[in-house]
Symmetry: C2
Subunit: 411 residues, 2 copies
C-alpha cells in the first residue's frame, strides 16, 4: 500500500457503495479517517466526515485562470535531495502521493493534474497551509492598525492568563517564537498533537477521556517551557491562539474573514470551508478545505503583491510585510537540515534564496509554492503516508526548483 | 420562549462567542441541536453540526431572479383555520416561526424576508422538503425508462429482503402506500422516528445503544404491518428506501444527481449539501441544506412545467407525471382533516383544488408552495417549535391562499 498506485483510493474502493462493506469503511470514530492509506480518500471528503463552517465565495463570476498547458514539464529532470539518481517531474507526483497539482506561470495554468479521489471541483484538506491564510489575515489586521503585534496575547484572550501563552505577545505566536511544551511529532502516538486533535474532535476521544474537549479548552492546558521570543519552534497551538485573537479583533469568524477579504474579491472557484469543533471554534492550525485552483489563485495574488489583474485584493503593504519573512537566526536552532537559511514568519515559510521563494506547507505534502523570480506558483494537494515534510521535501523542493529554472530558461 | 421574537436566536445569542458560555451552547451530543428554541439557530447552521456531502452548483453564473418588490402584501388579511380572528400576512410570519420567505409572482420576487439566524446566502435545513427532490429524481429516472415503478424494491436493494419492504414495489415507496410499522409522531419520545434519526446520527446515541447505527441498517429493521398499496401513510423510511434505489439505478449519489440535473442547470445561488450518516448514506428523507432562493428557483421550474426561461431543465413529462398527484382515495384514510381532498404522490403534496396547488412540506414549516393558477411560488424556511404541519397549516395555507387570490385580483 505504500505507493501511490496501490493506495489509489478509487482503486481500493473506499466508501464506494451504499453502504460500503465493513473493510471499505472510513470512520472518524475508529480513527481510520486519519490513517494511511485511508487519508488518500478522507482528505478529499472531509465535509463528509466532520462538521464544517462554509466559506462563501459570493455571487460574482469565477475569475478564470487562463490556460496555456505545456507538455514539456513532465520530462524535467531533477535530483532528489540525498540521492544520486535523477528523477523526472512526472515521477515526483506519485512519489509525493500527489492528489492534485496546478502550476501557474505568469498567471497562466501551464500544468494541471488530479489523481485518486480528487477532482478539479473537489475540496481537499489544506492542513497547515491553513496557517498561512491565518497569518495573512493577522498581517492585514496589523496593517490596518487594529492589532498591535507587541500586545500581549491575553489582552485579546484573557482566558489564556493561566496558560503558557500568558506572557507571550501577538507577534510571538504569529512567528511561532513562543516557548511552549508541545510535541508535534506525528510518529509519536503520545505526542501532544494527538491530544490537541482529540480535543477538537479531529481524532476520536474515548468515553473515559478526561482531557480537554474543545480546541479552546486544549489551549488553556498548554504550558510554557523556556523563554518566549528567543527561537522559532513550529507549534500548531500558536495558530489556534492567533485565530482566537483574530476573531476577537475582527468580531468575525475566520470563515467570514476569508470569505469577505479573499474568497469573494478573488472570484473563487467554489465555496471553501473550515473544520470546527463542537463549540464552533475553527481549526486555524489546519482546518481549511478548498479546491486546488483557489489555492493557486491566492498564491498568484501573493506573488503579484496582492494584485489580481488590476484589482488590489490584498494591500501591497500586507504582502510586503509577509515577504520580509521571519528571523533566520531564530529559525536555525530548530534544525531543519533540508531548509538551510530559511525562516518562518507570518505563518509562511521563507527560503530567503535567490528566487525569493516563500511557501505555505501542510504536513502531508499540501503546498502553495511561490517563486517570484520564475513568475511561478505551484498549488499541490497530497496525502503522503508520512506526516512530515522532511520526508516529502527531498522529492518536492528540488523538483520545484528545477521547474523554476526550466521556466526561466525556456520562458 | 414560545414566540418568534423571544426565541430569536440572535437575541438569545446561541453559539455567539469563542467559546460560547455553557448555557449558550448547542450540541449534537446532548440533543440540544434538535430542541426548541435551539433549532431556531441550528437549522441555519447545520453543516456546523453534522457531516454533509456538498452539492456542486457548478461554474456557471447565478441565474438572477428579477426583483419586483411589492409593499401591498404585508397588509393582506386572512382567517386562520379554526379561528374567527382575521390575521395579517405579516403577522403570520412570526406566528409560523419563519426564518426566511420568498414569494415569486410570474417568476419575479415580489416579497423576500429573513429573520433570526438566516441570511439570504445562508443554508437552512429543508427537512422533508428534501423528499420532493428525491421524488422528482425518481419520476425522472422512471421517465427515462431506467426505473420500473412496478419493480419490487428488492430488485434494486436485495438487502431489504428480510425487511418490511420485501414485498413492496418502487411505486409504493414513491407514493408512500407501503404498510409498515413506523410511528412518526415527533411528540412521542418512543416513536420510531427517533430511533431512525439516532441510527443516522442526527440524534445522539447512548454508548449502550444496541440499535442500528446507520440509515441503511435502520431500514433493515422496519417491519411490514398490513397490506402494501392500499392506503397512504406518511412514513419517512420510504424516502430513504427510494434514495437507496435511486443511487443503485443511477450509480451516483443523490448529491451528484441533484447537482447535475437541477443545481447546475438552474444556475443555483450557492452549493447545497446533503446530511449523511457515518457510512456516507444520504438522508433522503430530510437531509437537504440549501439557500432559500434556490428552493424558489426549483419551485418556479416546477410551476413552469420544467422550464426556466427558454431552457427545459426538467423534462415536461416528468413534471406532468408529478402534477397528476397521488390517489385521493388512498390519502383520505390517513385523516389529515386540514388537507381535505389532498393526495401525496411522487413525494409531493397535492391539493387537487381549483388552483392546482402542489407543495413540498417540511416538519417545522419548511415549504415550497406552488400555485399555478395564481402564477405564484412561495419558498419558506421555518423552525416552528411543534414538529407537525397540522399545527402550522392553520396560519399558512389560508395565508397562501389569500395571497394567491390577492395576486389574481390585483395582478
Amino acid at each position: 500500500m505504500h505507493d501511490a498506485r496501490s493506495s489509489d483510493p478509487t482503486r481500493v474502493g473506499w466508501m464506494n457503495a451504499y453502504p460500503p462493506p465493513v473493510e471499505k469503511r472510513i470512520l472518524v470514530s475508529d480513527a481510520s479517517a486519519y490513517r494511511f492509506p485511508q487519508i488518500r480518500w478522507s482528505f478529499s471528503h472531509y465535509q463528509e466526515l466532520y462538521p464544517t463552517r462554509p466559506i462563501d465565495r459570493g455571487i460574482g463570476p469565477i475569475r478564470p485562470i487562463d490556460l496555456n498547458l505545456r507538455d514539456d514539464l513532465d520530462a524535467i529532470s531533477f535530483t532528489p535531495t540525498g540521492s544520486n539518481e535523477p528523477m523526472r517531474w512526472e515521477q515526483s507526483l506519485d512519489k509525493n502521493f500527489t492528489d492534485g497539482i496546478v502550476v501557474l506561470h505568469r498567471g497562466k495554468r501551464i500544468y494541471e493534474r488530479y489523481f485518486g479521489a480528487l477532482r478539479d471541483r473537489g475540496h481537499h484538506l489544506c492542513a497547515s497551509v491553513t496557517k498561512s491564510f491565518v497569518g495573512t489575515l493577522a498581517a492585514w489586521l496589523i496593517d490596518e492598525g487594529r492589532l498591535d503585534p507587541k500586545a500581549p496575547v491575553i489582552e485579546w484572550v484573557p482566558e489564556l492568563a493561566q496558560s503558557g501563552f500568558a506572557h507571550a505577545s501577538v507577534e510571538q505566536v504569529l512567528h511561532m517564537t513562543t516557548a511552549i511544551r508541545y510535541d508535534e511529532t506525528y510518529a509519536n502516538p503520545e505526542a501532544d498533537i494527538w491530544k490537541h486533535l482529540k480535543a477538537g474532535g479531529v481524532f476520536p476521544r474515548s468515553a473515559s477521556d478526561q482531557g480537554p474537549g474543545s480546541f479552546s479548552d486544549y489551549l488553556l492546558t498548554v504550558v510554557q517551557s523556556g523563554s518566549h521570543g528567543e527561537q522559532f519552534a513550529y507549534r500548531t497551538p500558536n495558530t489556534d491562539v492567533l485565530g482566537w485573537i483574530l476573531k476577537r479583533v475582527a468580531n468575525q469568524s475566520l470563515s467570514d474573514m476569508i470569505s469577505e477579504r479573499i474568497w469573494q474579491p478573488m472570484g473563487a472557484e467554489r465555496d471553501a470551508a473550515m473544520q470546527i469543533d463542537t463549540l464552533g471554534f475553527e481549526f486555524a492550525g489546519g482546518g481549511l478545505l478548498a479546491v486546488l485552483r483557489d489555492l493557486a489563485r491566492f498564491g498568484e495574488i501573493m506573488r503579484m503583491e496582492g494584485k489580481q489583474a488590476n484589482q488590489q485584493i490584498i494591500p501591497k503593504s500586507v504582502v510586503h510585510s509577509i515577504c520580509q519573512g521571519g528571523d533566520q537566526a531564530k529559525f536555525k536552532p530548530a534544525g531543519y537540515s533540508g531548509l538551510p537559511g530559511w525562516s518562518y514568519g507570518y505563518m509562511w515559510w521563507h527560503a530567503h534564496d535567490d528566487h525569493q521563494v516563500f511557501t505555505a506547507r501542510g504536513v502531508h505534502g499540501q503546498t502553495i509554492y511561490i517563486d517570484p523570480k520564475a513568475e511561478m506558483v505551484i498549488a499541490r494537494f497530497a496525502s503522503h503516508p508520512i506526516a512530515a515534510n522532511a520526508q516529502i521535501d527531498p522529492h518536492s523542493l528540488p523538483a520545484y526548483r528545477a521547474l523554476a529554472k526550466h521556466l526561466l530558461r525556456e520562458g
